[in-house]
Structures are given as structure tokens and as C-alpha cells.
């Protein structure tokens, strides 16, 4: 058990380390030709430019810039944006909770919709009921987040005006008003993801339902819903959980798009804005936090997995 946990944690840390280098390089690649010169403006003297370079640490070798940046980032200091003048950590502190809430709500919606549909279609595999449930799912899955998001926004502003409020309010200030602003974006994130969850659950359930212990349970007269949701689902879940990293990936992709459509002040939109503004300091912090959340999410799944299926520890 300790070996397993240690291996997973070390692996995640290694990925995060390499990723931080990639993010840093991307940030430097994004920086305008000579950032200090651009920031100083056209009339600046060479001394001014050198001063700015020194202030941003650009006069040091790149590897040292990276190590400085990483060291500061580990202390929660992501630098100050030379373009907006804002401390990066403050910006991230405002944006991260929005994205986090959106992703969690989206995941909950995807699971609550996807798992039962997967179970229901699995036990009716090949029948007309199976197809009537699956075809709409196939179509929904083909609707990317930017289409379903647009539809959700249209419905929200036309028909569900009571349900939706366009202005974002932090959860801590007014939970109900916050939910009002987040519910539809969360649906736009979750609904395109649900068919994938359903599909995974379905194929895993079909395999499980064919196992002898399910037949034994049936001959013992155990209620069908209990066989499906208690016995079979538990055995069918681990393969679904291992693919959840895939779902996290979809969720992150959904964040970029849904935050843009609904004008939510989250990390996804933050990264895009930083890229537009060529804010190479801010984008590194935002991208790193986003990627770290993704990796930590996957790590949590890896650590929870043995609780559902103890055989994993023996591998």
C-alpha cells in the first residue's frame, strides 16, 4: 500500500516538474521579441531597458530564470505581471475557484447522468430501448461544448430567465446567487461529458453482467436493481475510474470554451486573455495551476482506486 502510494505520488511530482519546465518555456516563447524593450516603450534609453530586464530577471541565463521562477512558484509566488501590474497570485486566487467549482459541478453532472444511463443500457444491450437511449447520447457527444454552451446560453436568456443570472458572484458571498450563475455553465460542461461516462460504464457493465457471480446472485433471487447497482456496478467501476483522467481532460477543455461563452472569470478564460495580451508572466502561473489541478485530480483517482478494487495493489 505504501509502495503504491509512494509510486503514484512520485510519478505525479515528476510529471508536474517536467510540465513546469514546458509551461515556463511556453511563457518565454509567448513573450514579445524583446519583452523589456516592448515594455519600456519606443522612447526608452538603453539604461531603462537594462533596468527593466534586471527587474524581470531577464538578464540571467534562462535555466536560472526557470529555477528562480520554480522556486518562487513553490512558495506560492508567481511573480507580478509586467503588463497589468497585478500580482499573479491574486489573479489566480480569484480565477481558480471559479474554474474549480465549474469543473466539480460539471463532473458531478456528467457522473449523475452518465452512470445510470450506462447501467440501464448495458442490461438492455441490443434491444430497442438500448438504441433509443444511445442514439441521443451519440448526438449529444457530437455536440461540442461550444455548441451546447451556446444553446444553453440561448435557452437561459430566453426561457429560463429566473434560473440564470449573467453576473458571477463568488460562492462565499452568496451561495444561491452563485449557483444561479454557475448552474447552466456547469450543465454545458457536464452534458457533453456524460455520454463518455455512459459509454465507459456501459461496456464495463456488459462484461461484468456476463460474469458467473451475477448469475449466482440471480439464482439466489436477489432483486434485479440490487444486482445491477450494488453488485455489478461496484465490479464495473474500476475500469471506468481509470479512464477518468480522460474525463478530466475533457472537463479542462470544456472550461476554456464555457468560460468564454458565459463570460465567467475563470482560469480557462484567464489563460486565453493572457495569451491575447502576450502576458508571459501571468500565463505561466495560470497554466501551471490548471495543469497541477488536473494532475492532482488524477492522483486522487489513483489513490482512491484501491479502495474500490484491492487487486490493484497487488499489480
Amino acid at each position: 500500500m505504501i509502495r503504491y502510494v509512494g509510486k503514484k505520488v512520485l510519478g505525479a511530482a515528476a510529471v508536474l516538474f517536467v510540465l513546469s519546465a514546458l509551461v515556463f518555456m511556453a511563457g518565454r516563447g509567448l513573450a514579445p521579441g524583446n519583452p523589456a524593450m516592448t515594455l519600456a516603450g519606443p522612447k526608452a534609453s538603453p539604461a531603462d531597458i537594462a533596468a527593466i530586464e534586471h527587474k524581470l530577471g531577464l538578464d540571467k541565463p534562462v535555466w536560472q530564470q526557470y529555477l528562480d521562477w520554480l522556486g518562487n512558484a513553490l512558495h506560492g509566488d508567481f511573480g507580478v505581471s509586467p503588463i497589468s501590474g497585478q500580482a499573479n497570485i491574486e489573479v489566480i486566487g480569484q480565477q481558480a475557484p471559479v474554474s474549480f467549482e465549474l469543473a466539480v459541478l460539471g463532473l458531478v453532472i456528467a457522473v449523475v447522468l452518465g452512470v445510470p444511463v450506462g447501467v440501464m443500457t448495458a442490461s438492455r444491450a441490443g434491444t430497442a430501448a438500448d438504441w433509443t437511449m444511445r442514439i441521443p447520447l451519440l448526438v449529444i457527444f457530437a455536440f461540442p461544448a461550444f455548441v451546447s454552451g451556446s444553446i444553453a446560453l440561448y435557452l437561459a436568456t430566453h426561457y429560463l430567465t429566473n434560473l440564470y443570472s449573467a453576473s458571477y458572484i463568488p460562492l462565499s458571498q452568496a451561495p444561491l446567487a452563485n449557483l444561479q450563475a454557475m448552474l447552466l455553465p456547469a450543465l454545458a460542461v457536464g452534458i457533453p461529458t456524460a455520454p463518455l461516462v455512459a459509454q465507459m460504464t456501459r461496456s464495463s457493465m456488459i462484461e461484468t453482467l456476463a460474469q458467473p457471480h451475477i448469475a449466482t446472485a440471480r439464482t439466489n433471487g436477489i432483486a434485479e436493481w440490487r444486482i445491477k447497482y450494488q453488485y455489478a456496478l461496484r465490479a464495473a467501476l474500476p475500469p471506468v475510474l481509470t479512464l477518468i483522467g480522460f474525463i478530466f481532460g475533457l472537463l479542462v477543455g470544456g472550461l476554456f470554451i464555457v468560460e468564454k461563452i458565459f463570460s465567467l472569470p475563470g482560469l480557462g478564460r484567464g489563460v486565453l486573455d493572457s495569451i491575447t495580451n502576450r502576458d508571459f508572466v501571468q500565463v505561466t502561473g495560470q497554466a501551471l495551476v490548471l495543469a497541477a489541478a488536473f494532475i492532482i485530480g488524477n492522483l486522487i483517482v489513483d489513490l482512491v482506486l484501491p479502495l474500490v478494487d484491492r487487486r490493484i495493489l497487488r499489480r
Partner: protein, 290 residues
């Protein structure tokens, strides 16, 4: 008797149309129709896709403008036709790029084993561990947006899927006796990889290719929606939808028609992928179409 006639001569067997079922064939028909639009688009479109003021601004669908006009008076129908070309190109570039590189990586790590396997597998695992859209967006932030760059960024993100499949299948094939035989004959490793491994792992790779065409298609539209696709004013499904967002609440068709055209294409690619899998994957036949 019937079994003899059913087998037929080798030649007729090879030429038989591979897809059965109405749905799969319909999907192929749809994709062919889009291909025709992509190739002959400029001839078939009633207006130039970038003609500003081809009609009145924001007009409803009519005989002159079948699908209406957008905020700049451009013909939506013509723009949709023009969007099919970058859409198909992006999917093909991305998937071919990932197929070639992913297969090379996968075969190398599965066949060479040892150091190569652990080194290449680490890289693949790492690529897998980064959120796909974040990676693609960061790559595009550095390289600059555009059709080719966006397609390559998508391809890069999809490489691990091909590499994993290729590696697994290679390890399986590598245990066969004919590989040992080839080795004993003194064939080089390159020769074995090319002549024995590659043809024998082709079918899972073809399935992956078909499935990922729809993924790449959707990813390109999403990236172009976020502004990383082909440069304006050229039309893309994604950018058509994002640039018309402001009119969506009052003139929904400007968004709805490109969205419908795009969704039909993605569904067709999806169904094609499923059909390929049913056709080539021996396992999927036993599990009641799972």
C-alpha cells in the same frame, strides 16, 4: 455447397464493399458529400464566402440566401461550404501526423524494448498526463495560430493514443514464431519492423485513425472557436460560431446552421469509426456492439 460459393475466388472477395448496415454506409455517403463540397466548394457556392455585403445584413433565410446572411451581410450557406475544406484538412493533417509519429514511437518502444521502451514510454505517459486542450493552446500560443499549426497541435496531443496502441500490438506480434524465424534468417531490425510488425498491427491503427478523425474534427472546431484556427476572414465552423455569438440571441440561425453542419460531419466520422471497429476488431463482434 453454399460455403464453397460464399468463399468465391480471392479476387472477388478482396473487392467486396467492406461496410454493411445502412448507418455505416449512410455515414460514408455523408462524408463523401462533404468531401465534394470541400473540393468543389468555390464552384458550387452561390456567393464568395468572404464577400461582405453579398446580401443585406442579418437577413433571414430566403430564396436568395438559403441559410440567411451574417452580421457583415456574408452568405451563411457559402461560408458553410467554404468551412468544409479547412475542417476536413485539419482532421486529416492532425490524424496523419499523429498516426505516423505515434506508430513510429510505439513500434520502436515495443520492438526495441529495454532502454528505448522505458524512455519512449515515459515521454508518451508525460504527454498523456497533460490536459489536452491546455497543451494544444500553449503550443499554439508559441507557434501562432492558423490551420496547419492548429492541426499539428492537435496531432501532437493525440500521438500518445497511437503510440500506446502500436506499442501494445507490437509486443503481441513480437512473440510470434515468424519474427523469430526472420531474426534467424538474419533480417535487420528495420526490415522486421517494416515487413512483419507494421502490416500485422495495421488493423488496430486503422480503427484508431477512424475514431480520432472525429476527435480531431471536434478539437479543431473548438480551437478555431477560441480563435486559434484559420485567419479571418476565412471561414471555419468554430470561428463562424464564435464570431456570431453576439447575434445568436436575436438571430439564432447564424449560429445554428454552421453548428448543424458541423455536428452532422462529426456524427458521420463517429459512425465511420464505429463501423471500422465492428469490421476490423474481432473482439467487438462478440460483445453485442459494445
Amino acid at each position: 455447397m453454399s460455403s464453397v460459393t460464399a468463399q468465391g475466388t480471392p479476387v472477388t472477395r478482396r473487392l467486396r464493399w467492406p461496410f454493411r448496415g445502412i448507418i455505416a454506409n449512410f455515414a460514408i455517403l455523408v462524408i463523401l458529400a462533404y468531401l465534394v463540397l470541400a473540393v468543389l466548394g468555390p464552384v458550387l457556392a452561390p456567393y464568395g464566402p468572404n464577400d461582405i455585403g453579398a446580401g443585406p445584413q442579418l437577413s433571414t433565410p430566403s430564396a436568395a440566401h438559403w441559410l440567411g446572411t451574417d452580421g457583415l451581410g456574408r452568405d451563411v450557406f457559402s461560408r458553410i461550404i467554404a468551412a468544409t475544406r479547412p475542417a476536413l484538412l485539419a482532421a486529416v493533417i492532425a490524424v496523419v501526423f499523429a498516426l505516423v509519429l505515434g506508430t513510429a514511437i510505439g513500434i520502436a518502444s515495443g520492438f526495441l524494448g529495454r532502454f528505448w521502451d522505458s524512455a519512449l514510454s515515459r515521454i508518451v505517459d508525460l504527454l498523456f498526463a497533460i490536459p489536452e486542450y491546455l497543451l494544444a493552446i500553449l503550443v499554439l500560443a508559441v507557434m501562432g495560430s492558423g490551420l496547419v499549426n492548429a492541426s499539428l497541435a492537435i496531432g501532437l496531443v493525440v500521438i500518445p493514443r497511437f503510440a500506446r496502441i502500436a506499442r501494445g500490438s507490437t509486443i503481441e506480434v513480437n512473440q510470434r514464431h515468424y519474427i523469430d524465424a526472420a531474426r534467424l534468417c538474419g533480417r535487420s531490425r528495420i526490415w522486421i519492423m517494416r515487413r512483419h510488425i507494421l502490416p500485422n498491427i495495421a488493423s488496430p491503427l486503422v480503427i484508431m485513425t477512424a475514431i480520432n478523425l472525429s476527435t480531431a474534427e471536434a478539437a479543431y472546431a473548438a480551437l478555431s472557436f477560441l480563435g486559434f484556427g484559420s485567419t479571418p476572414p476565412d471561414s471555419d465552423f468554430g470561428s463562424m460560431i464564435s464570431s456570431s455569438q453576439q447575434y445568436f440571441l436575436t438571430h439564432p440561425w447564424i449560429v445554428a446552421f454552421p453548428a448543424i453542419a458541423f455536428v452532422i460531419l462529426v456524427v458521420a466520422f463517429n459512425l465511420l469509426g464505429d463501423a471500422m471497429r465492428d469490421r476490423l476488431d474481432p473482439r467487438s463482434r462478440t460483445t453485442a456492439g459494445a
